[in-house]
Amino acid sequence: MPETRRGATPPRIEPMAADAPLTGFRTLLYKEVLRFWKVAFQTVAAPVLNALLFLLIFSHVLDRHVTVYGDVAYTSFLVPGLVMMSVLQNAFANSSSSLIQSKITGNIIFVLLPPLSYREFYAAYVIAATLRGLFVGAAVLLVAMPFVELSMASPLWVLAFAVMGGAILGSFGVIAGIWADKFDQLAAFQNFLILPLTMLSGVFYSIHSLPHFWQDVSHFNPFFFMIDGFRHGFFGQSDTSPWLSLAVVSGCFVLLAALTLALLARGYKLRS
């Protein structure tokens, strides 16, 4: 008879005790940050270079022809927009690409098997996405500073809108990453939704330079409020009240977070 077929009472095995209630969440957050940091050339350096190319081209073409808010040089006006655009695009890219890669390669199972709640899952992915957005945004700002005259009138507004914008796009990324079954679908999400909303949000212009109709349309784009509020932190003036922007951005975040959490609670496309 093989040795494993036995009737003796086996010793009882206890699983290892957990250290602290949030260790699982902290580990997932750490892993998500480490994931983009390990390929920082692609995830940080490349977006910084992109933003600088925009700055170089637009400032060369427009700096001597356009001023905004009375006496603000166009290049100075442009930098906060580019910084915020980098925050938003990279926050989205982080959570969406991490999730779709894990789904396609199958290693998402390592996150689904442990005793992590859907709230921990959401928080870890969104915070990691926000951190990448902030990191890239800060890098763009640092690299651009020597070339422009720029100061922060109100750093708290800057920080508030950067964090909220990163969290919104991080949530968007979670939804896109869970929904998409192929990279192709994710690219469609990015190219047909995120990119137009960003480009048409006032990154490169003040909406006061637009005809009335397009000014009104811009007010339906939540990205406009993220960028306008963020810019207010630098210049102390903006196209619309920063409080209104904060209310719109906060409302968007709450709605999107609720939607993402509801999908995760149902196990949508993750737990069949």
Partner: protein, 298 residues
Amino acid sequence: MTVPAIRVSAVTKQYGTLKALGGVDLEIGQGEFFGLLGPNGAGKTTLISALAGLVRPDGGSLEIMGHDVVRDYRNARRNLGVVPQELVFDPFFSVRELLRIQSGYFGIRGNDDWIDEILASLDLTHKADANMRMLSGGMKRRVLVAQALVHRPPVIVLDEPTAGVDVELRQGLWQFVRKLNRDGHTIVLTTHYLEEAETLCGRIAMLKAGKVVALDTTENLLHRFATHSLRVSVDRAEAAVALGGMAVEDGWVEFAFEGYDKLEALLARLREAGAGLREIQLGEPDLERVFVEVMHRA
């Protein structure tokens, strides 16, 4: 009373028109080495996925060490380690990083002593700092086993762990899993290699179309269902075939019979038919025959 390692009660799962699980009841005791067998599409992986919380059953309940996998999922998952069927890995990390991260997901930090022990047992110590992409398929398979063990779960599920694995690794893996079972871990194994299941498992459940069609100790299954085989080399194969035998190769005919008391009568009938007996071979019942028989009857 000791709680069972796994309790599955009336579990159902439907995918569109496909009934993946049609009311499965199963209880696996602590310390068992249990085999879950069935043809492709029988529901084995769905059942394992339901235990692991990857699939949500439509009805019924599942418990790991007394913890409901839905209501008390944190404790249920802490008690369970799953080695998945597919060779999946995270290409961003080294083996040690991956194991530390996996430990952390289970709420455990600073368990490098246990990680070192697992790495040594699976002969992975020299690859601890290698990136996952640099490992061979066999090594990746061992890392999957290590990942399932980082939180030292009492119940370990191995879903086809030796599919496409070379003989040496297979032997090493079974040695290690046997040791885990001796140490008290409950092992649940699905495999298409029925010889492995016969050698390793004390009890076996067979699934077909989402239902348990046989559940017993391996010995009982072998006795209850299996028939012995008699292979004879004869001068006149057609005479032996006329008695119910099956021609298997040149001059050889195979008979199935239940119990050795029937053997003498069978040999006498062959003599009377003038088959011209030259050589005989007796075959013991094996799990493969049991499996075929059970699937045929179900």
